[in-house]
Symmetry: C2
Subunit: 292 residues, 2 copies
Amino acid sequence: MNVPELIAAARGGSVRAAGRLLSLAEGPRRGELLDVLGPGAARVVGVTGPPGAGKSTTVAALVGAYRGQGRRVAVLAVDPSSPYSGGALLGDRIRMSAHAADPGVLIRSLAARGHLGGLAAAVPAAVAVLAALGYDPVIVETVGVGQSEIEVAAVADPVVVVLAPGAGDAVQAAKAGLLEVADVLVVNKADRDGAERTVRDLRAETRAPVLTLVAPKGEGLPRLVEAIAAHARADDPDRRAGRARAQILSLAQSRLRVHPDLAELAAEVAAGRTDAYAAAEELLRRPPGPDG
Amino acid sequence: MNVPELIAAARGGSVRAAGRLLSLAEGPRRGELLDVLGPGAARVVGVTGPPGAGKSTTVAALVGAYRGQGRRVAVLAVDPSSPYSGGALLGDRIRMSAHAADPGVLIRSLAARGHLGGLAAAVPAAVAVLAALGYDPVIVETVGVGQSEIEVAAVADPVVVVLAPGAGDAVQAAKAGLLEVADVLVVNKADRDGAERTVRDLRAETRAPVLTLVAPKGEGLPRLVEAIAAHARADDPDRRAGRARAQILSLAQSRLRVHPDLAELAAEVAAGRTDAYAAAEELLRRPPGPDG
């Protein structure tokens, strides 16, 4: 099947066709795929936070809420540390299993390294595919340590940062720059000791709304859904341009990583024949080679 | 004073001249400075790890060990979350105060945002300055969350990752990709419960040497110093090329962030007139503008 046929089949409910399209978004036919899809505005909700904060439970709760509104929902789980290959469900995503049999929910794990341009380069294309297939919203879940919170901020609006009660998570989040990218903060497991204190501490640190949640029970869920909707309503050209800027930079970096002249320039620097600053200028002056 | 005069004064012991040179490394005269210094091979020890693991105490212990060998030592503290401006000592760096009055030790904090090309772009130039002034080794300390561990890996060899006992730190380090960049792992506070278990867990995860340390008492310090020396002795052209590659990519990204056409391309994407992939290609095709 060619791309338009795959899109038609996926829109008709073929999970297999949807999977094929998502695989194309990660491979050398990405350009062809994007040409057919055209530039599309997708609603993307990012969910990030430190390990153990309850991101997957929060995502499962959000999926339930959107399904209750009759919307089709896609979840992209971005986990560079996961041993599962691209396309596999995360093995420990137990709480999502309630939705696994629901044809209105598509769950995809982007986990493999070494794909064309890396993980960062796959996310905007995967989002474009899911939006074209009628999934709204697309929820992008990342582990929220290392590089990934920057990448999710580049595609998602709003970025929801999930933290557990206790000083550790809040301090870690601040140090990791998570508070900077947060549009909505959620203190999950809010029935635990220290939740109120954590909410107070976070409110002193950020102007973003700080909500409480007990994800498995759905306590606080309606307010989170409303905060996400309110943020989307307040979107404006400046914010869209900021996200576009971050996406462009992320994709440009992915392209430079596979630049045909990078190895030669690195060898020159390693041999002491030039310095890294001059080599970086030279890299940017040379064409990056054919896409894909 | 011009650059050669500043270098002469700094080599003669002027702390003020050394500070001026480091400030030049962060500003628009960086190119001129690097031309005078020439490409130099500096020995750089990176120290990173999660907050609270005892990085600063470890760095202070290493400084003491290298001073005991009669070597002049520089410490670059890279902390994007620090409120202190570039050039200031970190306020809480109490344990370094033993070395603050020692003219054989130079401590510099790179903490300000918004410098030319950002923090990442300042580190290789600062290292080049310190190496030219006769500091060996240069210890680069970073907070080890977010982006900084990737940057330290680009300049440092070896990268020493400092963790505290307990499952939390080890799991966090694995998730954050810290184990991947670690050349030497240190379980600090090794007199605490759980240290042996943490060592065992880490040895199952990595092939890098895992050492124990009680930094304030110097227990385990000679073995750490030897592991760092052994790693430096084993350096080879491939490893040097790998570091050069990471530095070039980091610097190229810093240049793209201030590309004169980025805002226009972001607006095009935000308006739906093109997609982020095509815009990234276009960004790479256009000259990045004058350096600085």
